[in-house]
Symmetry: C2
Subunit: 322 residues, 2 copies
């Protein structure tokens, strides 16, 4: 792992353990500590610290901003798991399964408030700007989640709409995370636009790569999981396939998704993917998006170590095999 990333990650983990969360009422606060303790790549808070480091000597004063985006991200996971009826997250029960729906709902609400409390704990000069950015980002994430639920009910979704949804649901928070760090150390200049391009391209590259690996990644024995296909999940691959398919291929895709979720469905869908060259199209898309990210990064006039780590992160997120 990149040395600076490792340093920032370790610091984030340490700080997460020290977030001031009261003990009582237990059913409000314990679920917050629980979900925050489950780990993960902590990409968003590390981005915040790197955003600070790009334009200043130190990331220390932006730790609270970093925690804010991680708390916010976990708030969205908590409520999204309720909406999706998900029972497991990171190998353990989701909050609404371990406790119940009411506790999950209210703890999530409290986490959103906690995120705002952490945002407030930064440089007074940039408070208004950070607050505006954070609220705009939070509302866009809600919009993305709603579009995701809306699109799940539709037969076909145009690629343009799907990319808009992914941008809102995933990319804007990555973008908000890095810009909060920059703003907190006093940077509001035109380079924020490059940070937006960098993170949004990285987010889209990562999402497509994630979809790609599920279908084409294979495990160490070359076996495809096809979990997304079994779940009937809409991904970049399905959208692209429907976009390019002729009538016969569309019918085979629809029949496959209407039939029971088993190996035959995976085979049927993968065979259409293969006819349409979806694998290489997805690879090209990931490469083109990550190239865009790297190009935007190169335009940034900031700390070289931070830039090196951001470049490493893009390659890490979109590398061919996990």
């Amino acid at each position: 792992m990149d040395a600076l990333y490792a340093e920032l990650l370790a610091r984030i983990e340490k700080e997460i353990k020290q977030i001031s969360i009261p003990d009582e009422p237990k059913n409000l606060y314990e679920p917050m500590r629980y979900i925050l303790s489950l780990g993960g790549k902590r990409v968003r808070p590390v981005l915040t610290l790197l955003g600070a480091k790009l334009f200043s000597d130190s990331f220390e004063s932006s730790l609270s901003q970093a925690l804010a985006v991680e708390v916010f991200h976990n708030f969205t996971l908590l409520h999204d798991d309720m909406m999706d009826g998900a029972e497991i997250r990171r190998q353990v029960p989701t909050v609404h399964k371990k406790w119940d729906e009411n506790i999950a709902l209210l703890s999530g609400d409290g986490m959103l408030v906690l995120a705002y409390q952490l945002i407030a704990n930064g440089s007074p000069e940039s408070l208004a700007n950070r607050l505006e950015l954070f609220s705009k980002t939070a509302m866009e994430v809600c919009e993305g989640q709603q579009l995701d639920m809306d699109y799940a009910l539709l037969d076909e979704v145009p690629m343009e709409d799907y990319l808009k949804m992914i941008r809102l649901k995933t990319a804007v928070l990555l973008s908000g995370s890095i810009k909060l760090g920059a703003m907190n150390v006093g940077y509001y200049g035109e380079q924020l636009e490059y940070l937006t391009q960098f993170t949004e391209s990285m987010g889209l590259a990562f999402q497509v790569q994630d979809d790609y690996l599920d279908a084409f990644g294979g495990d160490q024995f070359g076996k495809v999981s096809g979990g997304d296909i079994l779940e009937g999940k809409r991904t970049w691959l399905t959208i692209k396939a429907f976009e390019l398919a002729n009538d016969d291929q569309k019918k085979r895709l629809r029949d496959a998704y209407a039939a029971p979720a088993n190996e035959s469905r995976i085979k049927a869908v993968m065979s259409v993917y293969s006819e349409l060259g979806i694998e290489s199209l997805a690879q090209t898309e990931v490469e083109s998006r990550s190239d865009q990210a790297i190009k935007a990064l190169e335009l940034i006039d900031g700390n070289a170590d931070a830039k090196k780590t951001l470049s490493w992160l893009v390659n890490q997120l979109v590398k061919r095999k996990v």
Copy 2:
């Protein structure tokens, strides 16, 4: 109705219709407009405007703060209705019944973000103070709701714990509402403490009066609704009764609540209330809390019209019959 209250209420209603809420995604934003359009006394936003008027010539600059507390209040109603499984609010279907649980959950989240956006839209000088007060208030309201759910599972709740829960669930938001108005026009002095005393006493008086009227208010024909008793709801009256009851009376109360929810239950509970003199104890409590509110109000050195309207409001909220 008090002339100033009527003026402020009309203005709030007008401004609520003009809150900038996007059209799309429809399933995210329509429920927000729906719940905000259902009316109500709008006590909290009027308190905010009166808080501004107490310490300045005009309330205009605090309209956004007033809308913020009303949006926040409606966010809590939306999510609380989900937690309570309530199907009707103000004679129409609740959001999770009219749409569904997922839409209600996400729209509520979005309303909390919207409330913060409205808070941000005030005087820059007091932004940090307003934000701190608003987040603290919001978290306390979450704590109150959690305690309410926790206590619902307990056999008996000490009066002290019950009052703490009511303070968190209801009174702190009234208090936060009026103080946001005062802070937004630049008042941070020691009189904020009187505003706290005023609104928290008013909130407790109102809650006990509400409980009282349900059991002892009667309709125009003197008929008691007893809705709270039928619902098995914990109120100031039940807590007081359990506090004062001897073993026989406790047993009769427990038996009544264990038996089917019908007229006999109402009779049995009301008969214990009568033996213990709960009616006059409740009246005394309401009077003493509203006296405390009025006394705190008299200590405030502020605009006389605003004080007159606040005094009218206390009497209005706790008057004997609705």
